[in-house]
Subunit: 319 residues, 2 copies
């Protein structure tokens, strides 16, 4: 079947579109490297309390590609069972294998999630626009559900495979109301701006992949950011999202950049886990799954010193 | 547990190590893009009849990363059910997720496969040697079976994540008799030679990732090649493997290179599928799974014309 719904229908539909600050939620692991549902739920609740508009669970920062399909499905069930509103969830569902992407996307739609954040298949490099179009087309047709909202996940520094303007245009033309937005983690503002210029007016919701570009993104018609550091600094990022028209906006942006800069001196995922571990007083938070490794103690000390100097805090973090 | 067995024990063990020509077997798909077990088994049998020493099923050429874990497991069961000797099988089992790699590797060991060809986790780029060491270590420890034989799959042009000499050395030191070889698909003879110089004498079996390097590899202590074009040209490649000390060896190598060169003018996987489709008189063979696309008809014609000029044949291919 072909799912078609105009952008306007999507806007007017029962569910509001996501905007604001979303965190690609860190995945805590137990000592045996299995995902830790208890810490995961507590962290999700804390993020929502901090002003996160939504939870982009199973993203790059979540180490989702280091999890099996079953592990992701089980964690989604845990969140739903804990009463987290699925309208706040934007799970990552894009895998290398078409059948895995279909399975995870179907589960997200059935759970009532706000949408899915979909990586392109990322094993083969240099694939054609036609091949990528067919990948997304097959998933959308197989899921075959008018409730599906696909956000394209553009992160060429990691996935190496990304979305050209032409590919986005083909997908929007073929699946209006289904392909509804993008997370641009290219780290290249010119690319984000090109996406905004081309598609924002027709209802394509562009999230910056870093709060560094939040103000610029909002000024050019974007709708927010989905950012790794949202895991630790969501309240401040959300303040800029709310007050971006205020005179102090540029100053707020600079303060966000300073915190991000301190974190980006280190491998970001282990650094974020170390920050949560420290502020929660819970060393178990530190461990990533291989191939990532925890931040070594001297780097943790340097990172925490930088953050203290910036008066960084994580109020109300569950311990 | 820690699996330790000396290289000699591995050599003397019940099962001989693989050497010669292995094909990373193409995966045929039905019209609905599901794997086609019938065509798969027939192709595997033909490859063995052509002189393939083994079948590296579920490799890059097999589009294995475009298959779910369940689809790979089911195809392995099909091969075993069809009576293919597991001692001839070297399935690819390396995934992004530790738990997936463990599951597939365990299944291969239990099935009695000669070994597994293991990609490193390939989503995160620029990961540390320590992180990669832990990835392999976790898999080996969790599988915990002295029958396990791991061949490291080095293919940086695609996976982007590869194996340094230092990492190989650490793995060999920690798991002698378990980490037993490598497929080097770097396309860089200097890298293959460095691996051979460092480790071949201690029983590390290096397969070139292309028959272009077969003669050089054998002359420097390597044991064969695992090559995409083995899917269509195994008999000729095997002749060079058997006669590499003959005066005609360089001429044979040149002839192999000519066939490979004709195929490499095109995207290799769709080109190989087009060749099989033509020679089997079975158009269904042409289709890859997205994100790959079938070779367009004009390119198929050009490819077949090049091959006719080279007097290329596929005798006895099941139709």
């Amino acid at each position: 079947m072909t799912v078609r719904a105009s952008g306007d229908e999507g806007r007017k539909g029962g569910r509001a579109r996501l905007s604001g600050v979303l965190a690609p939620v860190l995945t805590p692991f137990r000592e045996d490297l299995s995902p830790d549902p208890g810490r995961f739920v507590r962290h999700c609740r804390w993020l929502l309390s901090q002003g996160c508009a939504g939870l982009a669970v199973f993203g790059t920062t979540s180490e989702a590609n280091s999890l099996s399909v079953e592990e992701r499905e089980a964690l989604l069930e845990v969140l739903l069972g804990a009463g987290i509103d699925p309208a706040r969830l934007l799970p990552g569902t894009g895998c290398c294998a078409l059948t895995d992407t279909v399975r995870l996307t179907r589960a997200a739609v059935r759970a009532g999630c706000a949408g899915v954040l979909m990586l392109p298949p990322f094993y083969y490099k240099g694939v054609s626009e036609e091949g990528l179009f067919r990948s997304f087309s097959e998933v959308i047709e197989r899921v075959g559900d008018a409730r599906l909202r696909v956000y394209l996940y553009h992160i060429p520094p990691v996935a190496q495979v990304g979305f050209s303007l032409k590919l986005v245009e083909r997908l929007l033309t073929a699946y209006p109301g289904t392909v509804v937005g993008m997370k641009d983690s290219s780290g290249d503002w010119n690319n984000t701006k090109a996406m905004l210029d081309a598609f924002a007016r027709s209802g394509f919701d562009v999230f910056a992949g870093s709060e560094r570009f939040l103000l610029a993104n909002l000024r050019h018609g974007g709708v927010g950011c989905i950012t790794a550091t949202g895991n630790v600094n969501a309240a401040a990022i959300d303040r800029l999202f709310r007050d971006w028209r205020a005179p102090a906006a540029d100053q707020m942006q600079e303060e966000l950049n300073a915190v991000r800069g301190a974190i980006e001196k280190h491998p970001v995922i282990p650094a974020l886990k170390a920050i949560v571990a420290h502020h929660a007083g819970d060393a178990a938070w530190r461990a990533p799954r291989p191939p990532l490794v925890e931040l070594p103690a001297p780097q943790v000390e340097a990172l925490l010193a930088d953050l203290r100097w910036l008066r960084f805090e994580m109020p109300g973090l569950p311990t």
